[in-house]
């Protein structure tokens, strides 16, 4: 069984006057901008400390972050597949919506410590192309993710909007992974 996540619930139709309220789009957009700019400003203004948490069993924070990021990226791939299932583009089990929700939550929560370390220890940096893109995309990713979460709360969105924002979030995470974890593994080897 597939369910359209945008379908309005029969039991509770939205009041007609709110259907086209611009706040539905404006609030997520503004929050996304605030999150992205806020993270960037914090990374730029505060002094990078260089040190932060490390986990037992890993040789360096770089390794920890790379594996956390890889975990997030794996769940992001699950996100894409399960999203196709939810939309009925791929055959999927009845629990594909649950899978989509929870794989997204895990991916997000796994990515948060990585971002905290990046911002706390390194800050927003632009000394090379890779680093510049990684810094900018890192801020944009969390902005886009906030927008996606807030948009989910609205009903009767245009059908293309969630896939578009979701695709943006996925693209952002993929590029973040390519510019950090993949670089780390290629530079220092696949180590733990």
């Amino acid at each position: 069984m597939t369910a359209d996540p945008n379908a309005a619930t029969q039991a509770f139709p939205p009041p007609p006057h709110r259907r086209d309220s611009p706040a539905r789009y404006l609030v997520p957009a503004l929050v996304a901008a605030a999150v992205a700019v806020g993270l960037g400003v914090y990374g730029k203004v505060h002094d990078p400390t260089g040190t932060a948490f490390n986990l037992a069993g890993f040789s360096s924070t770089g390794a920890v972050k790379s594996w956390l990021a890889t975990t997030a990226f794996f769940f992001a791939l699950v996100q894409v597949v399960s999203a196709f299932m939810v939309y009925g583009k791929l055959p999927g089990p009845s629990w594909s919506a649950t899978l989509h929700r929870w794989s997204g939550r895990i991916a997000f929560l796994v990515a948060v410590p990585v971002a905290v370390h990046c911002l706390y220890a390194f800050g927003y940096q632009t000394y090379s192309t890779r680093v510049m893109w990684h810094s900018a995309l890192g801020c944009l990713f969390f902005g886009a993710f906030s927008a996606k979460m807030l948009l989910l709360r609205s009903e009767r969105l245009p059908g293309w909007l969630l896939p578009l924002v979701g695709g943006l979030v996925f693209t952002g995470l993929t590029l973040l992974w390519l510019t950090s974890a993949l670089w780390f593994f290629r530079t220092f080897g696949v180590s733990t």
Binding site: T49, G50, T51, F108, Y127, L150
Partner: protein, 224 residues
């Protein structure tokens, strides 16, 4: 009722982020540094011929006191505790620096130089260099690496002293070498083989030639 799930997800992420941040702030710098710091003061300089501990002041040609732009130049010197070398090269308001103890501790730092000669350079491993150019003749400052702070003085350095780097692949291993040549000829260098740091062989400061693992490499002066 609106779906609370996405909002809860966001809140959970926010709480987790703030939690990690406070953990970092309160645990401070002690976590990573303590294990390392014991080893470093007993630094026995690896194979070096030149007489140590006498950093001869360089002949400084024309200390350009123009305030508007920072002159292009290189600087090299030792930390106050004499455990590591620091070199800074400035080009067009940008700086690249190398901090190196000649054994296993190193950091490549980059960043802009303000018009008043102050700079804050950062390294991918988190090291931070704070420095100030003094009358265009030397840089006084500190390097913070792995939770320890090293004060240093770097005098103006003219070729062949300064900052050198060589990267290559030798038998499948990625080689990345960095050298600081002080004005008195003393060298401090580290060669990293696939991420493992070790003392570097001497380079010929005239040509940059150096033999690493039997392979002849040429180190280049580093520019930002």
């Amino acid at each position: 009722m609106k779906r609370p799930g996405p909002l809860l997800t966001l809140l959970a992420g926010l709480v987790l982020g703030l939690f990690m941040l406070t953990l970092n702030v309160t645990s401070g710098t002690k976590t990573a540094s303590s294990s390392y710091s014991e080893a470093s003061p007993a630094a026995s300089p690896s194979p070096k011929k030149s007489a140590p501990a006498s950093p001869t002041p360089t002949v400084t040609p024309s200390p350009t006191p123009s305030k508007s732009a920072v002159p292009n130049a290189s600087y090299a010197g030792r930390t106050d505790d004499d455990t590591a070398s620091v070199a800074v090269t400035i080009r067009d308001g940008k700086a690249v620096a190398y901090f190196c103890d000649g054994r296993y501790k190193e950091a490549w730092l980059r960043g802009p130089v303000a018009d008043d000669g102050t700079m804050k350079l950062t390294a991918p491993n988190g090291a931070v260099l704070d420095g100030k150019l003094q009358q265009g003749t030397k840089i006084r400052g500190t390097v913070k690496d792995e939770g320890r702070k090293y004060a240093f003085t770097a005098d103006k350095a003219v070729k062949p002293s300064g900052l050198w780097r060589a990267t290559a692949k030798v038998r499948g291993a990625k080689i990345d070498g960095g050298w600081i040549v002080l004005p008195n000829g003393r060298q401090t260098g580290i060669v990293t083989r696939d991420g493992k740091a070790a003392a570097a062989p001497r380079i010929d400061p005239e040509t940059g030639a150096v033999t690493v693992d039997g392979q002849q490499l040429t180190a280049q002066p580093v520019t930002p």
